[in-house]
Amino acid sequence: MNNNTILEGLHPLEIKLLLGLPQEESLTAAAIEAKLGYNTSQANQVLSWLAQKGLVREAARRTIVSYALTDLGKDYLEKGTPEELILNSLKNGPIYVSELAQKTGLEQKDAGSSFGQMSKKGFLYVTEDKHISTKAADEEIRAIFVTPKKVLLQRLSSSESIPEDELDNDARALASELGAKRGSARSPIKILEREAVTFAFAPEAAEIRSALQARGVTGDEIGALTPEILSSGEWKNRGFRSFNVGAPPARVIPGRKNAYVEFLDKLKDKLVSLGFEEFDGPMVESDFWNCDALFMPQSHPARDIHDVYYVKNPTHARKIAEPFLSRVAAAHENGWETGSLGWRYPFDRDFTRRLVLRSQGTGISAQTLTRARIPGKYFGVVRCFRYDKIDATHLADFYQTEGIILGEGVNLRTLLGLLKMFATEVAGATEVKFVPAYFPYTEPSVEVHIKHPQLGWFELGGSGIFRPEVTEPLGVTVPVLAWGLGIDRMALMALGLNDLRHLFSNDLEEVRLMRRS
């Protein structure tokens, strides 16, 4: 630490000590208390701070013993010491040895040891018929066995603790005899030991002292600025204490948007900025809108019971809106009026009413077609459900981002232009590659692969031009571009995660700490 850093970080207590005591002064907490009026904890604290800064050094160290009263000691003062209680009960004449504990109210052990001490010195004895009797006057025995102890206990009760050098030799010997380190339930006195350290100023303290004097710092500078200081104008006559601006700040727990939701917000805002209008729909969908309207044959493998969540109750929608149902059914059976051969199988009008948890957002795109403006651009970031084992890359429910563009002038090349725009605007891609793909509801179909600055090459999304078997039964005769983007990997990257499950984390601390990387 250089002197400037030290100077900036000095506390008023340190400043006053440095300025108030000469360089050669021997520093102890007691001396600081006496000379500077600090309390004990301030005195100890300031020495510890200065030692950390290297401005004072330890010069000597000794152990100071002091004594304090225990709960048992307080008990003795209140009810009498064991010796006192024995002598009290002997006032009314001798008592049987066997009765001693009971008559005095002492425990057998305490009664025995107190009697033992007094009899050893010859003041009490046991007669032949097992009585305890006294050999000296009551006052004489009390003067030896009761009074000194009570005086000492009385003295200790007057303060929290008393250092041993404040006691005379007899009292000190007695305290040591009665005491136990760290206190014991069986001792009336607790022996306390602490290290008393004497410090001396280090040579660096002299430099700091001069610097303080040169700067005119007194230690009386303003700490917390208060309304009172402002209204009284006191600040005009005093300087301000410097704070340690490098000290680690306290943690705050702010109100915050969820980092993943914020990512989705930004995505939606981006799509809105590109002229797309948001669509929405219920979590439960009929097989009709989820698949049939998209010209997926009813025997399509992706419609298997093991790929879609079916609703338990009710199992079927009451009705499917006409004329869409009849037209879609005809499109499957014979192509309806679209010029298609259709899938050429009998369309099951019961199966189409079956209710599922939406497995893809494209069903909402299809419903949007029935009320879409031309030209029109629509999008949705919608929760979908998939019958999948849950792991780092698969969730039971998750978001899909997709949409449509309708217009007389849209075609394969505008589809590629749209995908390129997504690649650069939404994903920040540096390179784009188009690959022909297959989807049951679009023809042609295109996948877009992008080179992302951090993730490298990956598939950003699938797209295509809706088949006429999809659009015409829903009343749309212009071409419709349909697209879907896989934004999960970008979300993980943006949040510095590698497991999709963490996007929907249950852990408050993890969510509090999550941020854009």
Partner: protein, 584 residues
């Protein structure tokens, strides 16, 4: 999407040249194929094929044909399809179909392939073709099953019959002992796997030769005697059975073309039905059944967005293996491949005759896509969509965002949760009765068996797992719930809820009530609180949130019986508001 293992030697030999890995990736685009992996040790290319309607590509030979045709513009002619035409003699080899099969497994197609000794690589590719055709395209043998036999030990004609499953016995491939058809279903591994397709019928499909010797029990297992094909065999009888005639005929044509490409001579077989089929009572297989597709070049230009000359369109379509003519369509006589056109020629009209191994042309757009594929997607340059449209968020999203902003300002951490959960959490721990719960009929695990009807279970789960996070805990979610609603067409409704949660030593009703008041003020909604009796909350410390005499939500101190169920030991207060109702 089917993934196949291509024998690199067969593949390159069929194409007539070898490719580097990069070039291979490039040319596979013409088949919508992606190279997943090159296994150098076994000389195998692992390729994923994206088009689920192109089973002709699911073998080394078939995929090689597509690449070769795309590179050279020439596809092999398969003359054996002409056999069905009247001028050729009826094939000598015949299959007689039993009338009882009509309601069991109606159709069969077959041919004989000879002239090449089967080698190991060819056998492996044949087996892969069979597996992908029958497993993937044939829906695990339900609509297509295929059997291969040694033709020279079969006595023709073959009989496709419906046999008594208990009285008919033969030794199945892979086992030593003769057993009844029913025993095979119960004891043979293939019987266990594929038996359920036929076990519900009184009689089982059964294929035997003129001497009564068993060929197989379709779609389950071949006989050990006639149906054991080995390396070195030079003459094979191949049959396919199924329920959908077009699917079956296509599969038969795919296998026949593949074998023809491998050098086999294909000898058609005549199948004689006692009932009518869409193609008559006698069908000579392999059979060409595809219909021509006509489209306008102007339509292709409109959809693809690029100028395409007629000659270029013709070349592109040819590279994809199609026969194509200009003029109005007039289908070729049924059964024969090839195209005849007639009528007035129109410069704009193209008529495409699909190759015999494909049946994925339903609409003119499918033909137009062939032009794109033939020319290569890379030859189309991107252009920006031009039409001006106004972008906007949904009113629901706008309102939700407004509420979320206020919650964040009030010092709450936003959460986002999965919507599926366990009934034990959504109903049990919340002391609810579950009457409005939207349940899944086919849950995969008990962790995901219902859609949540409230956000509170998610919030409590967070609190239960976050006792070590610094207090106070203040968090919320604005998200969807679903619940049963008999007035809806779908019997349920999806709503946007906002739920907020405070957990702290000092959390009480009044603190959250103050936050609710702040939220409602900035949403410009007047509300009053009325006492609530709800097992989730402490009675006397919970309330209904009323806006214009309608209940839009609830709030209160969470009842200790709920906290106990979740293992939470900190006082919690929560509120839940239906944002859709509040927005209305």
């Amino acid at each position: 999407m089917p993934k196949i293992e291509v024998n690199r030697d067969i593949f390159f030999k069929q194409i007539g040249k070898k490719f580097t890995k990069d070039k291979l990736v490039e040319v596979l685009e013409c088949a919508k194929g992606e190279l997943d992996e090159v296994d150098e040790e076994h000389g195998v290319l692992k390729i994923e094929l994206n088009d689920t309607n192109r089973p002709d590509l699911w073998s080394s030979v078939g995929l090689a044909r597509a690449v070769r045709t795309w590179l050279t513009g020439e596809r092999p002619a398969y003359k054996f399809f002409a056999a069905g035409k009247g001028k050729k003699a009826t094939p000598k080899k015949r299959i007689i179909v039993d009338e009882k099969l009509k309601s069991i497994r109606s159709y069969i197609a077959a041919f004989v392939a000879s002239g090449v000794k089967v080698d190991e690589a060819g056998l492996i590719d044949l087996i892969q073709t069979q597996e992908k055709l029958c497993g993937n395209y044939g829906r695990k043998r339900k609509s297509i099953a295929m059997g291969v036999y040694r033709s020279d030990i079969i006595a023709y004609p073959v009989n496709y019959t419906a046999a008594d499953p208990d009285k008919t016995r033969f030794t199945p491939l892979g086992l030593e002992e003769e057993m009844s058809l029913r025993e095979i279903l119960a004891r043979h591994p293939k019987g266990v796997e594929f038996g359920p397709i036929i076990s519900g019928f009184k009689r089982f499909p059964y294929l035997k030769d003129a001497h009564g010797e068993c060929l197989s029990l379709p779609p389950v297992i071949n006989s050990a005697k006639l149906g054991a094909v080995e390396v070195g065999d030079a003459s094979l009888f191949i049959e396919l059975t199924g329920t959908d005639l077009n699917t079956l005929l296509l599969a038969c044509s795919v296998v026949a073309c593949n074998m023809a490409d491998s050098g086999y001579e294909i000898e058609p077989v005549s199948v004689e039905y006692p009932f009518e089929t869409p193609y008559g009572q006698t069908i000579v297989t392999p059979f060409y059944f595809q219909k021509p597709v006509s489209f306008r070049l102007s339509e292709a230009v409109r959809l693809l967005g690029d100028k395409i000359a007629a000659s270029e369109a013709l070349a592109c379509l040819k590279r994809m293996g199609n026969s194509v003519k200009r003029g109005s369509a007039k289908p070729a006589p049924s059964g024969a491949e090839g195209l005849t056109t007639g009528g007035a020629k129109s410069a704009d009209v193209f008529v495409l005759q699909p190759p015999p191994f494909r049946n994925d042309f339903m609409h003119p757009v499918d033909a137009i896509e062939e032009i794109m594929m033939g020319r290569g997607l890379g030859s189309f340059s991107p252009i920006q969509p031009e039409a001006f449209t106004v972008g906007r968020l949904s009113p629901r999203e706008e309102f939700t965002r407004r509420a979320r902003e206020i919650m964040v300002g009030l010092g709450y951490q936003e959460m986002i949760y999965n919507y599926l959960g366990a009934k034990a959490d959504i109903v049990g721990k919340m002391k609810g009765d579950g009457t409005d719960l939207l349940e899944i009929a086919n849950p995969m695990t008990e962790n995901y068996e219902a859609v949540r009807n409230s956000i509170l279970p998610n919030l409590l789960a967070t609190e239960a797992g976050s006792a070590n996070a610094v207090y106070p805990h203040r968090f919320f979610e604005a998200g969807r719930i679903a619940r049963l609603d008999p007035s809806e067409n779908y019997g349920s409704t999806t709503r946007v809820f906002l739920s907020l949660f405070v957990a702290d030593r000092a959390a009480d009703f009044n603190a959250v009530s103050a936050d609710l008041s702040g939220l409602m003020y900035y949403l410009s909604r007047e509300y009053v609180l009325e006492p609530l009796d709800d097992p989730r909350f402490i009675k006397g410390r919970s309330a209904r949130i009323m806006v214009e005499k309608e209940c839009v939500g609830v709030m209160g101190e969470v009842h200790p019986q709920v906290l106990e169920a979740w293992g939470v030991q900190t006082p919690c207060v929560a509120a839940e508001i239906d944002l859709d109702l509040l927005r209305a």
